[in-house]
Symmetry: D2
Subunit: 263 residues, 4 copies
């Protein structure tokens, strides 16, 4: 059977948060701004046609996005022990940038930690543990090369900007133990719903990024952040196809993406 026929009945779920001026995002990155430049009527061609357009200012870690391995270094070294200074310039990163991430189309496992706790959304300061992941993975196996998403239900708070970002109140996410549990299974990519795929304690912000270090620097596993998993969590699906194709921005440390789940 041809591929397009196999996909004909598939349900396509959009896993990206909408991007608009003022949306919640990390204060460490350039604020997203979309502004119409030409509006219809500004410059009308002799035949009565006109074209509207816009200017967009953003960052590589704004909205739903994928972290490149080059995003984080430890003691001056990137993944594989490569000195960061050797590959950085005004053209971005000549290695390990987001353009080095091959678009992913393949098996994805959703570990719904919120459901495992019998809640829709985990509380702000909750640390997802290795035990949580093991429990959520009871009925589905995680294989090498998979994508693995960790459900916290946090994307339900998107419209409550400050709470969502969690600089003051914190945000749920994997602790060091959970990160090691994930890394051991050697997935291609991991992802979650919060601004940063980390356990953020109330009032602490992103003072350290141990999970980023483990994933990006030590294990060479990319991270997807700020995913809109709410609808997917509601379906109860645990295994599906994920399409993950971040913009190919040469040399960038991350890039926006509109991930799709095919069920």
């Amino acid at each position: 059977m041809s591929l397009w026929k196999a996909l004909e009945g598939a349900r396509v779920l959009d896993l990206a948060q909408p991007m608009r001026t003022g949306m919640p995002q990390s204060p460490s990155h350039p604020p997203f701004r979309m502004v119409l430049e030409r509006r219809h009527g500004d410059r009308v061609r002799p035949d009565g046609g006109s074209a509207a357009n816009e200017v967009i200012v953003t960052g590589g870690h704004v909205g739903t996005h994928v972290d490149a391995l080059a995003h984080v270094s430890q003691d001056g070294l990137l993944h594989g022990g490569r000195p960061a200074a050797d590959v950085m310039s005004h053209e971005g990163f000549s290695a390990l940038g987001i353009d080095a991430f091959e678009p992913y189309v393949g098996r994805c496992v959703l570990l719904d930690v919120a459901a495992a706790h019998g809640v829709d959304t985990l509380p702000p300061g909750y640390e997802v543990t290795a035990g949580d992941l093991a429990r959520a993975a009871r009925d589905v196996d995680v294989r090498e090369g998979d994508a693995v998403l960790v459900g916290t239900g946090w994307s339900r708070l998107w419209s409550s900007g400050e709470d969502f970002v969690g600089v003051r109140g914190g945000a749920p996410g994997p602790g060091i133990g959970a990160a090691r549990w994930l890394a051991e299974r050697r997935p291609r990519v991991v992802g979650g719903e919060t601004v940063a795929f980390e356990h953020v304690r109330p009032g602490r912000g992103h003072t350290t990024l141990p999970v980023h270090r483990i994933m990006l620097v030590e294990a060479g596993i990319n991270i997807v952040e700020t995913m809109r998993l709410a609808d997917l969590l509601d379906t109860g699906a645990r295994e599906f196809v994920l399409v993950l194709n971040p913009l190919p921005i040469a040399g960038a440390t991350g890039a926006p993406v509109r991930p799709l789940a095919l069920l």
Copy 2:
């Protein structure tokens, strides 16, 4: 069979051009610029970790992108006769923006006009005609709701910036006849390799956009532009799955996308 198993052997072809400062693009839109903001070493946490990031300035019609229906108006009206003035504001378009485009995952037909002419790349000022499309479609049928890509081979010129843009030399693309041929088949979306999905005569630039009017305003069919089809053309494939998921920028007239072909 589960979807992910059906896709396991699939070949994934990246149909986006890489985005970098200085890449070829329409002079009518904000020039793309990616600049590293923090480099490793700029702000090192006490534990020796550091995170690099970037600022990105771009437009909705820069690099490989999808045109929203709101992009073009005729005599002040958008698709469906809706007055443009009613839906434009500082927040963009409240209707017919790129966020109104449902991500597309489905059958795609490639009409390789270059191959039909026995060449790798059509000449700069070549007008693709309805006859060209009919000939290229001889062995594959175009169905309602499909995606239809028109191959000109033009993406092979990407690295020759000025020639690619074609402001002086022109660029090959569909004329009015070809646009009507396409619109009659009622595809969901059409696409090509050039900066604008139009026939651009040498020295004329984009003085009128008749194909945009027919597609976006009259027929309500979105357009993908600046696609990197070269590798896909080389495979000889004529029917495959296209994934088309532009960034969900609320109210924008277009958005960058990294389209994938699954073969």
Copy 3:
């Protein structure tokens, strides 16, 4: 005597706040961001030289800036009863933009309301009244065509970002009575230290802008905002030369400026 000799002994006071990423500004405008693009060493010429540069994203009402008359409209009309719609386009304002403001070099009067109250800085929610201005103007006359600055001492709070902006706590500034007192004297330009030259009640933000309406729309008097007057207030000077030369951004509703006082 030549002008440059007359100015030889003059004291030059810088009345601009420094511009840097994260500085306090109105949440209604694009956040200022300055990012180095090329650093030394990124692109070294054969002779060993290199040039560093930056990208700047900002707005016309960010940092110390001058409001153009086109900034505010009332019932669709700009100053002089001109319909705003007639002069707005993707090129900005074809009339009453900041490029229509002639650089000002001339007499300036400082009305120090804080000093008149015997304090360094007026309290957050304080409304400057016509009586306050009259008292502060007791020893200096305000003449037609002058620049008039109203001292509140608020620029001393610059380093306390949130307090300075005053969205929650409010900010001192002229009420309607004070605005009329000023407008009657027909100065060329008025200015102050806060984000907006208005009386901002705690918790209210800039819900209405009556002083902007009186000055810009009714009287045709430009406004300078976010000035750093602290040092000037400390000198006790009441009459001096003001140099006010906003960037000549064609069609903009305002522009950054580095005003100087010559004493």
Copy 4:
């Protein structure tokens, strides 16, 4: 006599080029773009008032601007032998940035080389020599700490974008000999009308910047570029007051300025 009285009869000449999208500028820097964000009518307050604003994307070396000493390095060193690497970060330059430039208000000498050659505008590839400067300075002395402007008449070509920039055709400017002549006189700042204060040979672009090295790195003298001197040249004035107050952008390698001549 008070300063403002001394200045009352002064003629104020604006020495800045207007800033607008598409204006001529160096291709090495971010293209200037000003876009209206809110237009009148977009968000009308209950009282009928509305405020328009804009987004501005620019660089520190775009339009009329001042080069900071940090702009250029030689063999990794900035002025005074300071290693560039020691003072660069995501916050810009912690020393020798444009914020380290004290606003200048003082004597300025105009050396009109075009007039000395009996022409309005020097030809594109003309190298201004030490002899040219000596001849132009015959009737006016250059003193230590002065500002010195070199007139080429090139600002008359502003509206012919490509010619003005001179990437292909070249631009007149000081050669190494002229630069040494200037540096020996120890002015505070020097300036000119072209995109770069250099002699640009046809077809060469800014492949080397010897005058920048001599001024910024060796002599510690700032440079003003892209000045609009045409009107000033036409007055025949050779000695006047220059006001030079670039935007105080913390850590930037340059900043836009609207210089004024007071005659």
